[in-house]
Amino acid sequence: MNATVRLRNALAVVLPPLVLGVLFLAAWQAWVVVSDVQPFVIPRPTDIWRSFIDDFDLVWKASVVTGMNALVGLVLGSLIGFVVAVLTNRFAFVSDLVNPLAITVAAIPAVVIVGVLNNMYSLDSQIPRRIMVTISVFFVVFVQVTKGLRQNDATQMELMRSYAASPFDTLKKVRLPNTMPFFFTGVRTAAPLALIIALVSEYFGGTQDGLGSKISGTLNGSNKALGFAYVLGGALVGLLFFAGSNLLEYLVVPWRRRGRSK
């Protein structure tokens, strides 16, 4: 492939979303300016940007609180989900018992449980939020890893048997590597979920220092530009989680790099 062709391909990927994004922001700005919308209804994109720069330390502090809650829950939930799935893989009834709970947690607005958890800890605690994130992440990762452990290549398993390999060797050399892509599918799914749960769990009282409480406070109030600056902060944390989980998968599961774009 020569340079011009590569450049044209890159432009075909980058240009359409760029055009759409710029058009959208321009239309927003124009609409607010032309029809003279009050800033407490909807701020101009330029005002949001200014607010984001000027009050960056506020946005940063709130992002760290919520981001940490989500991160702690994501890491704990992923690890626990993975370990429990591997340990209980030999006992089919465990996943038979966990699966109904996983289905239920996925179907109901489980985040309301935070309201209950808050009662069990002191009011200034971040632990109920972190527990809530951990629970949500756990089920996603557990289900994926269990699925991965069961979908082993028949030929590879027969091969290991022909080597008279021990169950531990088979686990280490066949089952776990085969499970890795499933584990990371779980983590990638759970990463944005973790942030959403961390944000929403701030709606149920407790300390008002995270992005969730700040956003709902400011967006319901009159300083909407600051509210949007917080939203922008949340979006950036979300992108960070997205990029981080994908990067981790890229590093740990290098053999799956091809074809991931499909």
Partner: protein
């Protein structure tokens, strides 16, 4: 009854009983922890990690259920059960509306993206990003936009909750449908070409049916997303009749009347499960003539 049917029935019964056993186990561990756990919470490595177990923090399961039959407020006419049921029904209708509208929007977008490559390229990055960004926090904004545009809408906070549900629900449907439309095997596509069938005819006769197995799991995600979107927005907007609002206000009474909060939580759970049942029904209907193991 054939062997396969009997087998399938046995699995179904087994699965249903596993559901029951799982929940009994959760209830038992709740009571067990309450019995042996520290009353005032426990500290590990200097942080409060173990939950408090007193009646205020962890009421007995039977107290939660008996609270349903008592009246909601002292001297009030309606029992908690009636109030929670009414609220859950209200939220369910909102969630159903969000689910239907979101699914239609998702299918429409998928067709648009499958037909015009430019739309796919322009929209796809935003669709992906929109999933990494917590849209759910935007409910107040949607409401203030609505209220600004029309005075009449200013009283309809529920509409903002539904719109947010739509926002959350359309994504999985759009992605699933698009994938289904695009993974149509080439042999039948060439067959349709040989009939000189146009793009829309091919879409209707071939690509849509091919997308159905992909649509079914997407609808399940959309159903759950609609419920979460509506309930959470009810909380952040303070929609007066919904179950989300009930959780918030019962939560504030939790110090004096702990079991009451749990009745609202059960109401929200029931709402989610009923929606899941609706989606499973749609799934069955869509997949009725497909081989049992498709996708």
């Amino acid at each position: 009854m054939t062997d396969a049917e009997r087998q399938r029935r046995r699995t179904r019964i087994r699965r249903a009983s596993m559901f029951a056993v799982a929940f009994v186990l959760v209830a038992v561990s709740w009571e067990l922890y309450k019995a042996v756990g520290p009353e005032k919470g426990g500290t590990i490595f200097g942080t409060r990690i173990l939950a408090r177990t007193d009646d205020r923090a962890m009421p007995h399961i039977w107290d939660m259920f008996s609270r349903f039959s008592e009246s909601e407020v002292r001297g009030g006419e309606d029992s908690v059960f009636v109030v929670v049921l009414r609220a859950a029904w209200y939220s369910f209708r909102c969630a159903l509306a969000a689910f239907v509208a979101g699914s239609l929007l998702g299918i429409g977008l998928a067709v648009l993206m499958a037909r015009f490559r430019f739309f796919e390229r322009a929209l796809m990055p935003y669709l992906v990003i929109s999933q990494t960004v917590p849209i759910i926090v935007l409910a107040p904004l949607i409401f203030s936009l609505m209220a600004y545009n029309s005075r009449e809408l200013a009283s309809k906070t529920w509409l903002a909750a539904v719109l947010l549900g739509v926002f959350l629900a359309f994504f999985p449907v759009a992605m699933g449908t698009l994938r289904g439309l695009q993974t149509t095997p080439s042999a039948p596509l060439e067959l349709m070409d040989s009939y000189a069938a146009g793009w829309w005819k091919t879409l209707w006769k071939l690509r849509f049916p091919n997308a159905v197995p992909f649509l079914a799991p997407a609808l399940r995600l959309a159903g759950a997303a609609a419920v979460v979107g509506v309930t959470v927005s009810e909380i952040s907007l303070g929609v007066r009749y919904g179950v989300g609002r009930l959780i918030l206000s019962y939560g504030q009474e939790a110090t004096s009347d702990p079991p009451k909060l749990y009745t609202a939580v059960f109401g929200a759970a029931a709402l989610g499960l009923v929606m899941a049942a609706v989606v499973v029904g749609i799934d069955r209907l869509l997949m009725r003539n497909r081989p049992p193991e498709a996708v």
